[in-house]
């Protein structure tokens, strides 16, 4: 088993744990936590292929990770702001209770 | 190499060389860690005493003067007291998080101190690629510790204090980061050693090129140290632990040694961020004039640290505490725009290298002067000079 395989397995496991969280938790914020984990698993994959994979462009992986981190930060900020706004209106952050589109 | 300058380096080498080769890196690391763990808490102890004495003098009191000569052993008494006090954990508290919080608060500043070069060849952990980034990264971890302390106590004062502290830390991190970015821009490196090296250029025969001697450096230093005060929860930005409002803020429910740890963490954070400011703007361990280079480099670093601490104590004795909205407005409406302007000034400085000196200062003066005047006018419009009806 190579280091690459090991890291890929780790990333896959992290992704699936995050997925399980996103699928099972009822609270919107906890779902967001799961999504963050999945994003980070993807980052790990990028770096794994940069470090252990064949390299057409030397810095592709890190550049991807950088952009992904920036986008994840934006996503977290907007997502949490949305959750707070929803909470202010519905007094709940339980996902299944937020099923109406009409405000 | 002159001996006094390198005395500690040589000492370490001598000690390390006693050991067999395989363990030498470990011994070296242990020595560095030991030095950090010994020196900075010692400075902390001294600072607390001096601070109390100086604050007393500012208020026309003698300050602590009982324990030891002129009261200078007061810290020992305080330490023993807090060590022997009962460690109270509230029944409703989340005990694990409550226990971990002080550690999370104390460890990051210690890590941050490790990358600061305190003298020529004297840095515990040299990160040539990412030194500054490591420092900033470590600084952000404190926020989590603060939150843990505030939340786990299950006390509304703690929670309010933590909320305030986090809002403050997040807000002032931006100007702090932006004012360091100007230095990175001009140096072209994140390595703290390289940043100091960049300031060792000699001007006019005697003067060293500290960054603070440039317009962006001077403005950046001011912005940096204001933000640093806020990051370290120092007066006048000590709202998170405003005792008159929310008892002791996020460590209200801590007592004994854990309380002391918070206290220690706060001061270590202050030392770390001041040390960073010294490294970035005040030439690190460099002397200001070439003729003063016979003074050992580490003495310069700690001397500058001492001067800064003195100024901070002085400020603490002078300024009243800000209100929460003033605090936020100050960060977002003054510091942030100013640090963005500072970036612009730094860029202009970089690109105007061949110009005559006066011409290089001119745009900076304009770029800082005009917003400053505008702020002044806006401030006067918002707060016209007060007329005191009874006390004039």
């Amino acid at each position: 088993m190579s280091a690459a395989t090991l890291h890929l397995l780790l990333a896959a496991a992290m992704f699936c744990i995050g997925l399980a969280g996103a699928l099972c938790r009822r609270n919107a914020i906890l779902v967001l936590i799961g999504i963050e984990l999945m994003l980070n698993a993807a980052n790990l994959n990028f770096l794994t292929f940069w470090k252990y994979g064949p390299q057409p462009q030397p810095l592709d992986g890190p550049v991807f990770v950088l952009f992904s981190v920036a986008i994840a930060a934006a996503e977290a900020a907007v997502g949490l702001a949305l959750i707070i706004a929803i909470h202010r209106r519905y007094r709940t952050t339980q996902l299944e209770e937020i099923s109406r589109l009409r405000g | 190499m002159d001996a006094p300058d390198q005395i500690f380096v040589l000492l370490k080498h001598a000690v390390v060389s006693w050991f067999p080769t395989p363990v030498q890196p470990w011994i070296s690391a242990v020595l560095s860690i030991g030095a950090i763990l010994a020196v900075y808490p010692m400075i902390f102890a001294l600072t607390t005493v001096i601070e109390r004495k100086a604050l007393g003098r500012i208020q026309n009191r003698p300050g602590p003067n009982r324990v030891g000569p002129a009261g200078f052993l007061q810290f020992a008494a305080d330490g023993i007291k807090s060590l022997t006090k009962e460690d109270i954990v509230p029944r409703a508290a989340d005990s694990v998080v409550h226990f971990l919080a002080p550690l999370v608060v104390v460890v990051p500043p210690l890590l941050a101190l490790a990358v600061l070069p305190v003298g020529r060849n004297m840095v515990a952990l040299d990160l040539p690629e990412t030194g500054l980034l490591f420092f900033l990264m470590v600084g952000t971890a404190v926020e989590l510790g603060v939150f843990m302390a505030g939340w786990s106590s299950h006390n509304k004062y703690s929670l309010l204090g933590a909320m305030r502290a986090i809002a403050q830390l997040l807000s002032y991190e931006l100007p702090l980061l932006l004012s360091t970015v100007s230095v990175v821009m001009l140096t072209g490196s994140l390595s703290l050693n390289a940043i100091i090296g960049h300031q060792s250029e000699v001007h006019a025969g005697v003067l060293l090129g500290w960054n603070v001697f440039t317009p962006w450096g001077a403005a950046g230093a001011v912005l940096f140290f204001i933000a640093a005060l806020a990051e370290a929860n120092r007066s006048p930005f000590d709202l998170p632990e405003a005792e008159s409002e929310i008892v002791a803020g996020y460590f209200t429910e801590y007592s004994g040694f854990k309380f002391a740890l918070f206290f220690l963490g706060e001061y270590l954070g202050l030392f770390a961020v001041s040390g960073l400011g010294i490294t970035l703007f005040l030439g690190g361990w460099l002397p200001p004039l070439t003729v003063l280079s016979w003074v050992p480099s580490w003495l310069w670093f700690f001397g500058k640290l001492a001067v800064l601490m003195g100024i901070f104590i002085w400020l603490r004795g002078t300024l009243p505490r800000l209100r929460m909205d003033q605090l936020m407005r100050f960060a977002w409406q003054f510091l942030l725009p100013m640090s963005l302007i500072n970036l612009l000034v730094a860029a202009l400085w970089q690109y105007s290298t061949p110009w005559p000196h006066l011409l290089r200062w001119l745009p900076a003066a304009i770029l800082f002067g005009i917003p400053y005047l505008l702020y002044h006018r806006a401030f006067l419009r918002q707060h016209p000079p007060r007329t005191y009806r009874y006390a004039s």
Binding site: A22, L23, C24, V31, L95, S99 | -
Partner: protein, 670 residues
């Protein structure tokens, strides 16, 4: 010379600086702003004159600089100084300066005149940038900027609802054309790989790129060059108020009159013509004298129709500025015709002469409006000849130039050149006839307007107390009138210096046919003048009935013309309704989108039930019921996936991902 081309950017920069500084000046310093703007544009005019002279002496020159680079893509922009841009440059700066000076008097009492001059300067900067740019991209940016400035200036009195509406209308209408422009720009870039016009052989208007475009066809069988040209022409149609996108231009008269003079008569609306002239090598690609390029044919017909439409509409208007606005539309149509049939020089010469006399007319109208305290309805004016003699004299010069009174007026010669090239146009004679008719109608409506405004006695309280404005108002009028006459010296077919300057390659016409057209044109003008003079000779008497003399003569026609051929009503009845309907349908679709899948499933289920019914005819009824039930069940089943529960959707999504991954892996390993 090299220096000149490199530093051409200074000319647009001056007004831009004036606009920037003016923006930051406090409102009470509006006089300073005005002075700054005039000074900046006057300086630009001097520079422009220098540039013009240097072009007269030498040839075209241009310089390109890199703008920004990203990855391998490097975008470059540049400045060009060729006869085309030099002549436009001089015209815009000179006319602009005069109009600026006029504005200082016209807007003196407006407390917001600082804002006005900022916008005007911004406009001037953008317009000069448009003229000077050597890159279609930069031209497009400036094109949009002049559109913005136009929007801001039309809506300058934004508190008046008509002005705000007119500004929006102008912006949105021109946007339709600009969309075509943008698509054309992108297409041209993707085909030729550059947006620079001239770039040492690599520009998109240079032979290498043109030969690359020539001979290639698009999907519909249209030549590539034609397709791109037509898209660019869309932009020109919008900007230059050609049929059918002309509707914004008359409404744009809601802006202050100097704005109408500068933007909506002299310069910005001519930008469309200029664009076509600039892109002429591309537009004319693949055509010959006998068989012009399809794009040129479209342009000629559009221009001809617009010209006649504009002239006819102008006949029946009663607002002094609207008459001029329709006249502008008409003249722009003339320019397009000239450009399409006789090459860029013919169209551009008319553009330049028109700029002077139309600016003159608008400023004259402004002077009238200013003198009559804002009265714009010509039925309430009259008798101003004695009260405003200077305005009358200069206005008469403009009127005669526009009508094409022979020999002394530049409009005659430039219009004559257009008619001349029309008469030689191979594909059709109809545009020529339309052109002659338009010329006659032009003379007619201008006579009508003159009689209404200046002759007889005053018919309203405002005009009775009219007074001549200060020298700030009248001096620009005089200069423009002089220029309108003087320009004829360089535009006659006997000594067509300007034409040669603009297009050295254009063939000199044979003198025999010149005379024929000259006489025809003079006759048309004379006919129009005479008809107008006769019809309106007893205007005062005729108006007692409350009806225009022409209205009594041809009432139905007159009504149609007065209502602008009902274009606005037509658009309101069609396009606006359609857009509204489309919006309604979209809304309805939006509301029912959730059930689309359900409907699809029910359709599928119905199909199943239909099958079962055909198989089992005997139990038709029951099976139909079953089918309905099945449909309902299927719908219900599927609707459960649309319950606003993201996690259920996510589950299904993940199941699909797993299946996909497993399938791919299976395929890859086996």
């Amino acid at each position: 010379m090299e220096n000149l081309a490199k530093n051409l950017w200074v000319i647009p920069l001056l007004p831009l600086l004036a606009a920037t500084v003016g923006t930051f000046l406090p409102r009470r310093l509006h006089r300073v702003t005005a002075g700054l703007s005039v000074a900046a544009l006057a300086t630009a005019a001097i520079l422009a004159a220098a540039a013009f002279l240097s072009v007269v002496r030498g040839g075209a020159l241009y310089s390109n600089v890199p703008w920004f680079e990203t990855g391998t893509l490097s975008v470059r922009v540049g400045w060009i100084l060729d006869p085309l841009s030099a002549a436009m440059l001089l015209m815009i700066t000179v006319v602009g300066t005069l109009i600026f000076i006029f504005s200082t008097g016209y807007m003196a009492e407006d407390p917001d005149s600082g804002r006005f001059f900022c916008f005007l300067s911004l406009f001037a900067a953008a317009m000069l940038g448009l003229i000077l740019s050597n890159s279609l991209l930069l031209l497009f940016i400036c094109w949009e900027l002049v559109g913005l400035a136009s929007y801001l200036l039309i809506g300058f009195w934004y508190s008046r609802p008509p002005a705000a509406d007119a500004a929006r209308k102008a912006f949105l209408t021109t946007r339709i054309g600009d969309l075509g422009f943008l698509v054309g720009l992108i297409w041209l870039y993707s085909e030729s790989g550059t947006v620079l016009f001239y770039d040492q052989g690599a520009g998109c208007l240079e032979p290498a790129a043109l030969s690359g475009i020539a001979g290639r066809a698009t999907a519909g069988g249209l030549a590539l060059g034609t397709a791109i040209s037509l898209l660019l022409f869309c932009g020109a149609v919008g900007k230059s108020g050609q049929l059918p996108l002309h509707v914004w231009l008359p409404d744009a008269m809601e802006g202050p009159t100097p704005v109408s003079a500068l933007i909506h008569a002299a310069t910005m609306v001519a930008a469309g013509v200029f664009l076509m002239a600039r892109m002429f090598p591309l537009v004319a690609l693949g055509g010959s004298a006998e068989l012009p390029a399809p794009a040129l044919v479209v342009m000629a017909w559009t221009g001809a129709l617009t010209a006649l439409f504009g002239a006819l509409t102008a006949v029946a208007q009663t607002d002094i500025k609207r008459i001029l606005a329709y006249s502008t539309i008409s003249q722009l149509g003339f320019m397009m015709m000239g450009l399409a049939t006789g090459g860029p020089a013919v169209g551009m010469v008319h553009l330049l002469t028109h700029a002077f006399f139309k600016a003159l007319l608008f400023l004259g109208a402004g002077s009238v409006i200013h003198g009559c305290h804002g009265e714009q309805d010509i039925r309430h004016l009259g008798g101003l000849r004695r009260r405003m003699p200077l305005t009358f004299a200069t206005y008469a010069v403009g009127m005669m130039a526009l009508s094409g009174v022979p020999v002394f007026f530049s409009g005659f010669w430039s219009k004559d050149a257009i008619l001349h090239s029309l008469s030689h146009w191979a594909p059709s004679r109809v545009p020529f006839l339309l052109g002659v008719l338009t010329a006659a109608v032009t003379a007619f409506y201008m006579t009508r307007q003159m009689i209404y405004v200046f002759a007889g006695t005053s018919r309203g309280p405002d005009s009775a107390h009219a007074h001549e404005g200060s020298p700030v108002l009248t001096v620009p009028l005089g200069i423009l009138a002089g220029a309108s006459i003087a320009l004829s010296a360089v535009t006659t077919p006997f000594r067509p210096w300007l034409e040669h300057f603009l297009s050295p390659a254009s063939t000199p016409s044979e003198s025999g046919s010149v005379w024929g057209i000259l006489i025809l044109s003079a006759l048309a003008c004379g006919a129009g003048l005479a008809a107008g003079g006769i019809l309106y000779r007893n205007l005062g008497v005729a108006l007692k009935t409350g009806r225009d003399p022409l209205e009594r003569w041809v009432p139905r026609m007159y009504t149609l013309m007065r209502d602008r051929f009902r274009f606005d009503e037509f658009y309101r009845a069609t396009l606006v309704k359609w857009v509204g309907a489309a919006a309604w349908i979209s809304a309805a679709l939006d509301q029912s989108l959730g059930s689309v899948f359900r409907d699809l499933a029910s359709f599928a289920a119905s199909a199943g039930s239909w099958l079962s019914r055909t198989v089992d005819q005997g139990v038709l009824n029951a099976s139909f019921d079953d089918g309905c039930q099945a449909a309902r069940d299927a719908g219900g089943l599927l609707s459960r996936t649309h319950d606003g529960q993201p996690q259920r959707s996510l589950r299904i999504l993940i199941a699909g991902v797993i299946a996909l991954a497993a399938g791919l892996l299976f395929l890859a390993t086996s």
